[in-house]
């Protein structure tokens, strides 16, 4: 149904252009991938190519300073902040707040249409990743949720009533394996993995029938292969979850989804081998979960360098090409049909876990491994060169805008002892301390990169590393939020700030744009949360003083 609507819209646009009509209201100019369904934000990254790009053009560099608050929606629960990536379809905005509270809101007025409070198993209070909720998926007349007690859940899109619920994990046996990110649709298949990567479990990707909730397939991420894992014990405690949403490319019927680090994180001694399929980008067949190809970015990971971030599909030399950032601070550019590397470029300014990565083979030269009982410095730190907040690609400037964090950690490796509690992690360390990069002061940035080569067009420094997603629009604007709660609009050509607004609490989630009744809106989730602020406060004590919160704030022109 959605596809049909897209086609219809494109036809209307084409007809208007052919007749030389001037588009009114929230008009847009382009066509092709990234321009589908321009008025909506129908999926996590808006389009399957993960651009975080809106084709709407009513808000421009000239008038952005006239943005004013149109409405604010407050869910009333602020635990772990507001981490969601709102979805907007035909004038209704869907989002999630702490503890899986799901909301449907009138996107023109902010009025609540329905609210569903997920009844969670009390075990959800005991786990390490409690409360964090990062989004919903909407399609096939339903709103889909990955729950904090290990289920996929479907609600009726119009009423918010439960349609089906399927338990997928055993929380007590699997160290609180739960879903904090929304499962994604690949046709009639709904797929996703559990949060973490640091628990002593076999991480899995689950797929169910989106209409019935019936299980379709389950993929075990630690590969059942003695060449990858020296023992079944190592494999069964190897971690490797897929905790961030994958994407579905309908043109090739392929799921792209990345996997986490291997566990125990900093104690790799008892898991000799490449530890497939951890720290890997997977291309899967949605029908049965079979692997079309894989690219392991960090074989035998020992630094908590997950491969879970967004899979960008960007035209490079005339062909859609995967551009994929790893937590290790390198970007892998590869063929989308077979994962063959075209380039690997350094994204972070500070790294010392390798003397370099081969841009043709991906080999990590001279890996600097942790050692038991010895304190060593590693850059980037375990939070990564960037957190999970995605960047944004603009097809007009041909630049990729994304944030970074220049912070290292010292780690003293330790033999991993049996994890004693459901909320424990297998980190394999006896000490970890966030520190400045050698000779520098730790900070963060927003950068504009050539996605193929890493050439920097511009960078803006932030004394507290930004952890919000980035949005870019047809008119060359770049929106992002900072730790203290200000949302900024920049000129995508040169990084000049054009507008800002203080939302009152730090920005962590996904900034999106949509149009309803001919007006373009920018929506900002405000509310500092997730484990990142808490852990970073050891390095940046000011964070302890920053308020939490949770609100969805919509801006439009006067």
């Amino acid at each position: 149904m959605q596809k049909h609507k897209v086609k219809q819209t494109l036809k209307i646009v084409s007809a208007a252009v052919a007749l030389g009509l001037t588009m009114q209201g929230a008009a847009y100019a382009g066509s092709g991938p990234g321009y589908e369904d321009p008025n909506n934000w129908p999926q996590f990254h808006r389009t399957y190519n993960a651009w975080h790009f809106s084709p709407l053009s009513q808000i421009t560099k000239a008038n952005v300073k006239k943005l004013k608050v149109a409405w604010i929606h407050q869910p009333g629960n602020i635990t772990m902040g507001q981490q969601s990536f709102p979805i907007v379809i035909d004038g209704v905005l869907y989002y999630i707040s702490a503890n899986n509270n799901v909301w449907a809101v009138d996107a023109a007025t902010g009025k609540t249409i329905w609210h569903y409070e997920t009844k969670l198993d009390p075990v959800a209070n005991e786990v390490f990743y409690k409360a964090a909720s990062r989004g919903v998926t909407v399609g096939r007349g339903k709103v889909f949720v990955g729950t904090l007690d290990g289920r996929f859940l479907a609600l009726d899109q119009k009423t918010g009533k439960e349609v089906w619920s399927t338990q997928l994990t055993d929380m007590k046996k699997e160290f609180g394996a739960l879903f904090s990110a929304p499962p994604q649709l690949a046709g009639n298949v709904l797929f996703g993995g559990t949060t973490g990567g640091d628990q002593p479990i076999i991480g899995k990707i689950f797929a169910v029938d989106a209409d019935t909730g019936k299980r379709v397939w389950t993929m075990e991420i630690p590969k059942n292969d003695p060449k990858s894992w020296p023992s079944e014990k190592a494999r069964s405690e190897g971690g490797g979850t897929a905790w961030w949403p994958g994407t579905y490319d309908p043109t090739t019927d392929t799921i792209y989804i990345g996997t986490s680090n291997a566990a125990p994180d900093y104690y790799p001694d008892e898991r000799k081998g490449d530890n497939l399929y951890t720290a890997t980008l997977l291309a899967l067949n949605p029908k049965d979960g079979s692997i079309k190809w894989h690219r392991q970015e960090v074989p035998h990971d020992a630094w908590d360098y997950d491969s879970v971030y967004e899979t960008l599909l960007i035209p490079i030399n005339g062909k859609d090409t995967i551009v994929h950032l790893n937590k290790n601070g390198f970007v892998y550019v590869m063929d989308k049909d077979n994962g063959k590397l075209q380039n690997v470029w350094q994204y972070t300014e500070n790294q010392n876990f390798t003397s370099g990565i081969d841009p043709k083979t991906g080999e990590i030269h001279n890996p600097n491994y942790p050692e038991v009982g010895k304190q060593k410095l590693f850059c980037p730190n375990l939070l990564g060169t960037r957190s999970w907040n995605p960047g944004a690609y603009n097809p007009n400037t041909k630049l990729w805008y994304s944030t970074g964090m220049e912070v290292c950690n010292t780690v003293t490796g330790a033999k991993q002892e049996k994890v004693e509690t459901i909320n424990g992690l297998a980190l394999g360390l006896s000490e970890i301390t966030l520190v400045d990069p050698p000779g520098k002061k730790g900070d963060g940035w927003l950068g504009a990169f050539d996605p193929a080569t890493g050439k920097v067009k511009w960078k803006i420094r932030f004394d507290l590393p930004p952890i919000s997603a980035v949005l870019t629009t047809e008119t060359g604007l770049v929106f992002m939020g900072d730790f203290r709660g200000s949302v900024h609009a920049y000129d995508g050509d040169n990084g000049k700030e054009l507008w800002n607004f203080n939302t009152g609490s730090g920005i962590r989630g996904g900034i999106v744009s949509y149009a309803v009744n001919g007006k373009q809106y920018i929506v900002v989730p405000s509310g500092l949360g997730s484990h990142v602020p808490g852990f970073l406060s050891g390095k940046f004590p000011e964070i302890k003083t920053l308020p939490g919160g949770s609100s969805i704030i919509a801006f439009t022109l006067e």
Binding site: I78, T79, M80, G81, N125, E126, V127, F128, K130, A131, L382, A414, E417, E420, T421, I422, N423, G424, L425, L427, L429, S430, E431, I432, T433, L434, L528, G529, H531, P533, G534, F535, L536, S537, G538, K539, P541, I543, K544, P547, G548, G549
Partner: protein, 115 residues
């Protein structure tokens, strides 16, 4: 009309847990217990949350703290805490292990605050 009773209230009353102990069963300044608490703190509490020597988290840094009592620490470790941030409950650790964590955190409190 009589308001409906929440069945959870009845269950809670029937299974009301015993009050939490307010005093440690051993000397909290004992170096051996402090060392065991430190080891467990580093393995379970430091990464992603409280940081090295409790410098992180949304709570004030532990070093130099004079406001922490043993009863309060034991209660928070046992029950967890929910505010704008979260701390899960650690009741799955034995009481002795929780008191060892208390011993380590109070030892940090006796050390000078980081500048």
């Amino acid at each position: 009309m009589e308001p409906a009773k929440d069945p959870a209230d009845a269950t809670q009353a029937a299974t009301k847990p015993a009050p939490l102990p307010t005093e440690a069963p051993f000397d909290l300044t004992d170096p051996e217990h402090i060392a065991l608490g430190k080891k467990r703190f580093n393995a379970y509490c430091a990464a992603y949350c409280h940081g090295n020597e409790g410098s992180g988290g949304k709570t004030p840094a532990f070093k130099g703290r004079t406001d922490m009592t043993q009863a309060m620490l034991f209660k928070v470790i046992t029950e967890g805490r929910v505010g704008s941030d979260v701390m899960p409950s650690w009741h799955a650790f034995t009481e002795e292990k929780r008191w060892e964590l208390v011993a380590y955190i109070m030892d940090l409190g006796r050390q000078p605050a980081n500048k």
